[in-house]
Symmetry: C2
């Protein structure tokens, strides 16, 4: 081990997945904390092997390891990176727990709806039931986004003036809607996502993420 915290991600992903793979969340957190890190690139078949599943039972990425910790789940990885740094987690107890709350809200209350939208419009677009489900899925996610926009209000970040790991995770989840028109009805959420994605740490993380696949293409 290099001494640097290390994540795994895929050496190659199809074009539609570029810009969305969850190693982005770890990369963004590292950049916000100014923490150097290493990346192990793995192949799709290896991700499904027993060797990788020992660290990630669902055969997915990213995994994370450092000198003390070996974990999976992008939410847990982001919390670990934030705990090791000094920027993404408020030091007061309420602020720290509220940041964790927003990480979990992103992953449990928002992402499942983003995912169902991807299911009907992408992963199961060709299935006969998807056109029938479409409007219901859109209505459900719009209702959730309206609630989230109301909670954000005119604050720059979910809990006020301070960007936390909770904002990072929520913006990453909402970024899954980047190529849809779903955010168009929600100007405050649109601005929130744009503010997050304009942060130098996000710009760097996205560039490094995409560079892996640019290289793969050229190879």
């Amino acid at each position: 081990m290099s001494g640097l915290p290390t994540i795994t991600t895929f050496r190659w992903v199809p074009e539609f997945a570029r810009g969305y793979v969850r190693d982005l969340r770890a990369r963004w957190a590292f950049e916000e904390e100014g923490q150097a890190y290493a990346v192990d690139l793995i192949d799709g078949p290896y991700a499904k092997s027993a060797a990788h599943r020992h660290f990630q039972p669902f055969g997915q990425i990213p995994t994370y390891r450092d000198d003390e910790v070996e974990i999976f789940e992008s939410g847990a990885i982001a919390i670990r990176i934030a705990e090791q740094g000094s920027h993404l987690l408020p030091t007061d107890t309420n602020g720290r727990l509220r940041a964790i709350q927003w990480v979990i809200a992103a992953l449990n209350s928002v992402e499942p709806m983003v995912m169902q939208h991807a299911v009907v419009t992408l992963f199961e677009a060709d299935c006969p039931w998807s056109p029938m489900r479409h409007d219901r899925v859109v209505a459900d996610i719009k209702s959730r986004l309206a609630d989230l926009e109301a909670a954000l209000g005119d604050k720059p970040w979910l809990d006020g003036e301070t960007f936390t790991v909770g904002d990072l995770m929520m913006i990453s989840v909402l970024g899954g809607l980047r190529e849809t028109d779903l955010l168009a009805d929600f100007p405050k959420l649109t601005d929130f996502v744009a503010r997050g994605e304009a942060r130098p740490a996000h710009v760097k993380a996205m560039a490094d993420h995409l560079a892996v696949y640019a290289d793969a293409k050229a190879a």
Copy 2:
């Protein structure tokens, strides 16, 4: 405020929801930690009010407050209760982060599939697309459960000999399948859920949860 940590839950829920409402997760965590707590019962319409949404933007329960912290999301609440106690979070860094990882795995990698199963068989059972989707939804969740069963292996709990808040959350999520036959193909997961639900803390939490609705029925 009474000085006791306090959660909100619904004063009444329809019969199919009894035994599944997420206040159970907080109750179970409190019981595991031997922590006394208070419950504020709220009505459905109040949950959708601006007053409640100030604490829970999606109009849901539970919320949690103590002398320091006000949060929502059952996963964050369980982590808070575990941090305040001495039983549900290992004290070594890797063990603590792995417990949080399993909380998030339950909420982000397993619960969305449990929820889609409830959508096709219950919430959208009458929709014309649900019978068409059914087999795909079942195949997806069975694949995920097979991975989880392999990860559990012959260990009593997800990370070995010690029951953590991660087991609590995963068992609570899998408990959502209690009235289906989906766990029948997975004897190790079936035993894992049964082991968790037989813990005195779970038995007490479930009884206290159901008593709210027994009272509501009698009233």
